[in-house]
Symmetry: C2
Subunit: 499 residues, 2 copies
């Protein structure tokens, strides 16, 4: 009895997923554990795993099996057909590239990332520019090859790696809408904020070990399982690992516990998505997270929607007092909430509030499109950054550390990733609104540190769906209507103007 | 211009080594970082990497290339010829096995190891026996398949994986010699020890964080480079990672700092060997450590020969006082040295002194030979362990935690490994004697915490040779004569009877 073409594809993609998961752990280790001297050996390991995974998908046999399986698709169920569709999508991305380009991209990305780690604190853009130039030139080759194969523009082909189907005709209207709405809105928020009491940080210091204990209690309340994951420290917080072993990281500022707590809750949102992916489809393309916009919606739903709420502040305050030994009015929910609702334009994206955040993304989106289209050179990048920032924020970063060196994305080859942040914020607002409508008990439960109602809804509507639907379909099914920035804008108005 | 067969072999084995290194890091993480819930996914990753590595070596093309390259070997230099010899050795080991057996062994080993982690503290041998039975049956299949292919007995074929050429006609005379010498010698040592002042542990507690600081200072003195490695905590100390990023682990007993310090120095000996392997032959078979007996010689040379010396005690004492806040006569070198030279039969191998250690190994060697030959069943193992222990030590462990459950080796499939420990101890003594003869300044330098003379000798004679020579050849070249247990016995006499 021979396996069907579909079964053989499952075996093939399973091996590819296992290799990708091994690579993911190696990347986590690189960021959270590895001493600098290990970089070259690690880059080799990652490049080899990338190449082997590529070869499995791009092999002629895979194409043959896909054709056979598609011809026999009538015998498959809905999940299987979706899995086959995702396999075809992977195949289209993989076959566009030569193996040598995949390997070269992996190596150049690791090399540039390691150089950036040293160049960023020093604010020394010129030190990393040659490696970035090498990397960008490879990314452009990739974008052009994929554009042809996918029938997209080169920049869209890059975005498509992170979020399937997120084309410019979906991004541009959304960003234009927000770019039209936010400047006036921000003015209104700042004016109102100036006339009200300011949130004030309780006095520190807050030792990292105690912040970590508080963070772990919050994570546990939200639903993180510590026999299925870890919290560690890294320069750039992220979520890695696999669904049964999710690795999140944060960084601690001993003068400000509030920042790390929201960072941890953000990453916990990512972690819960991974943990909730459909177990029956582990190690298959359809069992993966849908895309990075939906992923970001899960972190932002947790951080911005659920945990910067008045209800959560009521849950957080006594825990923070207990773990950090605080007392007095600065530790009351009202003050913490004012801290967490403070709006303030600043140079650093990852420290930005949700009102100014989209402008940070729009800046990067414009610049990376221009870089990929070769309308902007890397020599011009710092100047273009500063000019773009001035137009959006009215000020100029004093150095590149606070400017074009601040984010890892370009320096590890992640061009096309940035738009997913703001699309994710818009999705988050719409999902959270729908969850509260379906389960009105959610806000009060959050006030008790009980995330089960919210998590139950997310497991059913989002996490457990894996990649069965497109993001567009999933949002519409979960919320009853197409994605619409009106919900996000209404959320901002309610929180920052009406509350 | 086409690459030669030899060049193509280098590319092929390079890829295999990179995969093995990726697997090594994943295994380190499993032991030092991974939450229990990640075990199944990790087992999949390791099994897939093991299988891919196996397929690269066992592929028919590899055999064809080896024949071609061997026919053209006259054009190769000495290192290349040694590399080709090691490739052929790997090929013999790999082609003996079906890929399905390699995968099954990897999975069963991880599964049994995880079950053992829970069964050991509970002393519950029966809980892990079914998984051990599955694993042992696969190991026997492997041993028989390799025996045929290598022209060795099944047990020898297993030992050969860890230490090439370590056959029973080399092990047995050595172990018989020691088994004849040690009982009387031990009696003499214990008698003498009873009539002299005993070493006494300074009073604790010693917080793990402070022990770690002291350990890191000692590691740095010995030559460990922290930009090329890490020290972490794990239940079972080991050395992993890659030459540019060596990961060692230890465990801390807050009532006894002395134990962790020697554990760390032992692992540092392993680490320095890895770090000193020939950089020009990275990712080639000839660039690997020669074998586990030689590896163990490097850890024991550092721990037992160099760091349990009078000279090192003089260097250690003031550092320990400083980092641990001690003072008084218990912190003087004389007392520390008495502690470190204490001989005391006990149940646990890893806590044994160097006089009683060989008997622990001989017990395991006898039992695992019988298990592989099917002369002993797993039902009988606990009883056979206790009876064997009684014959060698005159007492019986009170439970299996202190008996046949104590070591990880059988439970992760490492049958055939144990003999390398005692062969390593014998090599260590002979190498250290030769190093002091060649560089008489070594002991005084160690007293100053200056390991450069010793490390320089080891780099030249041992580490930098990789797998160019057999262990037998390397020992003879480094020391001027064949391996001879007389040096080890003379070392024991000098330290425990004459000093």
């Amino acid at each position: 009895m021979s396996d069907s073409a579909y079964d053989r594809l499952e075996a093939r993609f399973r091996r590819r997923e296992v290799l990708a998961e091994a690579g993911g752990l190696l990347h986590w280790d690189m960021s959270a554990m590895m001493p600098a001297g290990g970089a070259a050996a690690r880059a080799e390991q990652l490049a080899t795993l990338d190449l082997l995974g590529h070869e499995l998908v791009a092999a002629p046999e895979t194409g043959d099996l896909l054709e056979q399986a598609e011809a026999e698709a009538a015998g498959l169920d809905g999940w299987q057909r979706a899995n086959l569709r995702e396999m075809r999508r992977d195949w289209r991305h993989a076959t566009a590239l030569e193996g040598s380009l995949v390997e070269a991209l992996s190596r150049a990305g690791r090399r540039c990332e390691m150089a950036w780690r040293a160049a960023r604190p020093a604010g020394d853009y010129e030190a990393v520019r040659p490696l970035l130039a090498e990397l960008l030139s490879l990314v452009r080759r990739k974008a052009e090859a994929k554009a042809e194969s996918l029938g997209l523009s080169p920049y869209e082909a890059l975005v498509d790696e992170y979020e399937a189907g997120l084309t410019l005709d979906r991004i541009d209207p959304l960003f234009d809408d927000l770019a039209g709405f936010l400047p006036d809105f921000l003015g209104g928020v700042l004016e109102r904020q100036a006339g009200r009491p300011q949130g004030e940080l309780p006095p520190g210091p807050f030792p990292a070990a105690r912040q970590k204990r508080l963070a772990e209690r919050l994570m546990a309340a939200v639903g993180f399982e510590f026999d299925h994951g870890r919290l560690d420290t890294s320069a750039h917080p992220f979520c890695g690992g696999v669904p049964e072993d999710v690795r999140i990281t944060t960084r601690y500022d001993e003068s400000d516990f509030a920042s790390a707590m929201m960072g941890v809750l953000h990453e916990t949102g990512h972690a819960l998505y991974e943990r909730g992916l459909p177990a029956a489809w582990r190690l298959q393309p359809v069992g993966r997270a849908r895309g990075m916009a939906l992923h970001e919606s899960q972190s932002l739903l947790m951080e911005m929607q659920a945990c910067r709420s008045r209800e959560f502040a009521g849950f957080l305050a006594p825990l923070a007092r207990e773990e950090l030994g605080g007392s007095g009015p600065l530790w009351e929910p009202d003050n913490l909430l004012r801290l967490y609702h403070r709006v303030e334009p600043g140079f650093i994206r990852v420290e930005a509030d949700e009102v100014t955040y989209p402008a940070h993304v729009i800046l990067r989106y414009r610049l990376e499109r221009a870089l990929i289209a070769d309308d902007l050179s890397l020599e011009e990048l710092p100047g273009a950054w500063n000019e773009g920032f001035r137009q959006l924020f009215g000020s100029v970063p004093p150095d590149d550390r606070l400017g074009c060196l601040q984010d890892i994305h370009w320096y590890d080859g992640g061009f096309g990733y940035f738009p997913t942040y703001t699309v994710g914020a818009v999705i988050a607002a719409q999902l959270f609104e729908a969850a509260r409508r379906d389960r009105p008990e959610i806000p009060a439960a959050i006030g008790q540190g009980d995330f089960a109602p919210l998590l139950g809804w997310l497991r059913e509507k989002v996490h457990g769906q894996g990649s069965r639907w497109s993001t567009t379909e999933l949002v519409e099914q979960a919320t009853g209507r197409p994605l619409d920035p009106a919900v996000f804008k209404a959320h901002l108005k309610a929180r920052y103007l009406d509350d």
